[in-house]
Subunit: 230 residues, 2 copies
């Protein structure tokens, strides 16, 4: 069944991006798939070695590494080496605090700007896990949890809010493996989520903001008390 309408192929996507951006993506993916907090993790990178393995010259690779450096994922020490950065506990707590500030603002905005349908869609992220099931699905829950928060931030309709928090989540996700995922905490988390959705649905601006902030600050306290880093 051939369509009479001319089908324009999206050329932008198929077009190979610059080697720099490809190297950037590859490195970022490699870092995220690695448990950098494992004691035996090899945190050193070598420009020439990577250049050979990627099959590109050092120039685009260096630009990719420079970007990762400015994002805080790696640290470039002149004439010493390039090292994958392990965030300190203080830095992680700091990131969660900023996250709390931004997501609570997003919730505020959502009560004013999001449609009923958009808010209702949040149920997908929450209802999938009854408080009873959490124990069994603990693995999945961790990802669903992040997606729920990203969804709220998306409702804030702020590109910048989304952009900054995405970077934060990237780092926070890296320590997820170190987090002692308590069954009880997850259960209470689900309760919090439901209350948050309720507040958004009722368009209770102040309440939604407060609930989101308190919820994320609870995570902060939890990490502060129970997660071993440093």
């Amino acid at each position: 069944m051939s369509d009479s309408v001319l089908k324009i192929q999206p050329i932008a996507e198929s077009q190979s991006q610059s080697l720099k951006s490809r190297a950037y993506g590859a490195l970022k993916a490699a870092i995220v798939n690695m448990n950098i907090y494992a004691p035996e993790a090899e945190l050193r990178l070598d420009e020439r070695d990577l250049s050979l393995r990627f099959g590109v010259s050092r120039t685009p690779l260096r630009e990719a590494l420079a970007q990762l450096d400015s994002e805080g994922l790696v640290r470039i020490a002149p004439r010493r080496g390039i090292f994958i950065v392990r965030k300190t506990k203080t830095e992680i707590l700091d990131m969660i605090t900023v996250w709390a500030a931004l997501e609570s603002m997003a919730a505020r905005l959502a009560t004013q700007a999001a449609s009923d349908a958009e808010i209702a869609a949040l149920h997908e992220h929450v209802d999938a896990f009854s408080t009873d099931e959490v124990a069994a699905k603990m693995g999945e829950y961790s990802d669903a949890n992040i997606r729920f928060h990203q969804a709220i931030i998306g409702l804030g309709r702020s590109t910048l809010l989304t952009k900054i928090t995405d970077e934060l989540f990237f780092h926070v996700r890296a320590i997820r493996q170190r987090t002692i995922v308590e069954q009880d905490r997850a259960r209470r988390s689900i309760v919090d989520h439901k209350e948050i959705v309720n507040a958004l649905e009722a368009r209770h601006t102040e309440r939604a903001e407060r609930l989101v902030r308190e919820h994320t600050l609870k995570l902060r306290d939890h990490v502060e008390r129970f997660v071993a880093l440093d």
Copy 2:
């Protein structure tokens, strides 16, 4: 009076940094000193031209430009050119919203962590301008205003909070020249500032957070209504 103790000069500071970071600083300073929103502003940059003018090769210059690109100050269009970015009004409003979120969180933290002396020091930024003087010192006020807000954020004791807002201020400052600085708005702004300091001194966490947020969102509304960009 010659001292018998050998005086070691700190060599680290005098040591010239990398060409990349010097080029980065020079470019950033050049951009901030330029009114990029003037209609006749030349927004195009040329790698080779800059390379000649700085007296360095294209390589470190490119790395500096790449960093400015990732920060959103310039946009690198492959084989087209490098352009200084004019933020759209939407983006500026977005930045002010994020600013409000972060500073209000900083105020919250300040009520819990800052010392009385630190909070008292805020008076320096506020008392310098009585509501009567504002009209005469409108020029200075704009800078003092930013410094007041930076001081509050500093009390939050969060490196990340400071880092993100510094970048935001950089962009917002660029449109200051386009802002219609109304005498009346500045006067009310000072009143707001005094109330904020009072709330911090009284350690009223919720009130301080709210006042800071509302104050910055007022600026957002003002920009939205009275500043012409785009």
